[in-house]
Amino acid sequence: MSEEKKPMATIYIMGKAYKVPNTLTIMKAIEYAGYRFIRSCGCRGGFCGSCTTFYRVKNDYKLYVDLACQKRVEDEMYIVQLPFIPAEKPKWDLGKMKPTTDEVIRIFPEITRCLSCNVCTEACPQDIEVMRAIQALRRGDLEDTVNLTFDCISCGACSMRCPAEITHYQVFQLARGLYGKYETIPAKHLVERVKEIEEGSFDDELSKLMDMNVEKLKELYKKREIEK
């Protein structure tokens, strides 16, 4: 199909109308329109959370949030991006903390203001049940909080919508850190292997392999058994 014949959509980038092919993602459409990203563009694959985009569509009061790299444009879309979440990151030392909600509240007392309005959940482009996760934390259920928020990419859309001014993505990072550090069982075999390596248990094996010529190495490689 030639460029001109492609079905087009009209989108409003910060209020200005542009015609763009309707198969593009918001990100590619903004570029097509002539913008070059410095901010609001990162991994382009749905992992980094930098391209959070707020939009409305015609005849709809609802405010939508999606990642620009993961959302296809629609006709009559009114778009603005969130280049930065205005928030300092509070500092903490996980090593000196306990895995409790009280510790999280010590850093983020504002989570006690959660109104259960659930607007955060509506805002999350990762479909995380954000309010549920905050409330799980209030219930002292760190594990539930972690499981609910594991897919959080810290885009901060929730935090821009929250009437209680919670910066959820930071709260969840702390919760996951505490859980990971204190509430998961350390892998025993890992500790043992680190010790074996430190003691030099594999030095001979490795040195032998290092000194081996390529042909012999290839032989060994071919002969290695693949674990089922």
């Binding site: 909600t101 009280d102 006690t112 209030r138 002292g140």
Partner: protein, 291 residues
């Protein structure tokens, strides 16, 4: 008997002994508490603003979850232990029963859950015990706490305000339900003029001296009545009273325990009292159960 149970943040985070002693007692009494799944924070203090229903949402979401769970197990009774939670939940539920517009408003706003049909009954655990009957309870007591003098501290949230009608669990000016409980477990209630006075509530956060002023008076009153312990239904009062105790000389302090802990002790199940307090009590009643 199977009822729905709303724990609240304190029982899960601050005072697990309150919940654990209750579970222990309930098992003995044949009461099955079914925790509401995914309950939300109630907000602790009810919003008195009539033009802002946002602050009721946490309670309503818990009602919805309770309602759905209730359908499964066949009950509409929600029991609370924390008196602050009780006050908020009771009040909001009554408002929703009375005010059709408010109910519609919150149901419309909460579009991600089923509608709330205000048919739940919010009951404080003390009322539940009262309904079971203190006489009947008395029959189950294994270790009567004879000789133990207990100051019944109601504080505010179980008694006030009577608006919407039906919030108080007893007469706001002269309640007796805790005294009845104390008697049924074999202990002696102290005459306690400060039993319905306020501990200072949330002022502990920014104006702790207000709480200190209040709790010193309350503890002093209990002490002058020779109370061995103060019995509390409220985690916040308990915290504030303990804070008050810390500002006093050891000789002037009166230990504060949750009512369910004494109940559990008298039923000869795990009270989750601190060893020190449990020993003190057992010594006082001449019991053999030294931990």
């Amino acid at each position: 008997m199977e009822v729905l149970y709303y724990p609240g943040c304190s029982l899960k985070n601050t005072y697990p002994e309150f919940e654990k002693s209750t579970y222990a007692a309930c098992e003995k009494l044949g009461i099955n508490l079914v925790e509401i799944p995914e309950w939300n924070c109630c907000g602790v203090v009810p919003s008195l603003a009539t033009d802002n229903v946002m602050r009721h949402l946490g309670a309503v979401r818990s009602f919805i979850n309770a309602q759905e769970k209730g359908k499964e197990i066949g009950t509409n009774v929600v029991v609370t232990l924390c008196s602050m939670c009780y006050n908020v939940l009771k009040r909001v539920n009554l408002i929703l029963k009375e005010q059709v517009d408010t109910l519609k408003n919150v149901n419309d706003f909460i579009d991600d859950q089923p509608d709330y049909v205000p048919e739940l009954e919010i009951v404080h655990f003390l009322s539940l015990l009262k309904n079971v009957g203190f006489d009947k309870l008395k029959e189950r007591i294994a270790i009567p706490l004879r000789g133990l003098k207990v100051a019944p501290y109601y504080s505010c949230a179980l008694l006030r305000p009577d608006r919407p009608k039906g919030v108080p669990i007893d007469d706001p000016e002269n309640p007796t339900v805790i005294e009845n409980l104390i008697r049924s477990i074999g202990a002696e209630p102290a005459e306690f003029p400060f039993k319905t006075e306020c501990c200072g509530n949330y002022h502990i956060v920014f104006e702790p001296h207000i709480v200190e002023m209040r709790t010193k008076k309350i503890i002093g009153s209990a002490r002058s009545e020779n109370a061995d312990v103060i019995l509390s239904p409220c985690p916040l009062c308990t915290y504030n009273l303990q804070h008050g105790n810390e500002t006093l000389d050891r000789s002037e302090q009166v230990p504060v325990v949750f009512f369910t802990q004494l109940l559990a002790l008298s039923l000869d199940v795990k009270s989750h009292l601190s060893t020190e307090i449990e020993n003190q009590i057992m010594k006082k009643i001449g019991g053999k159960k030294f931990v």
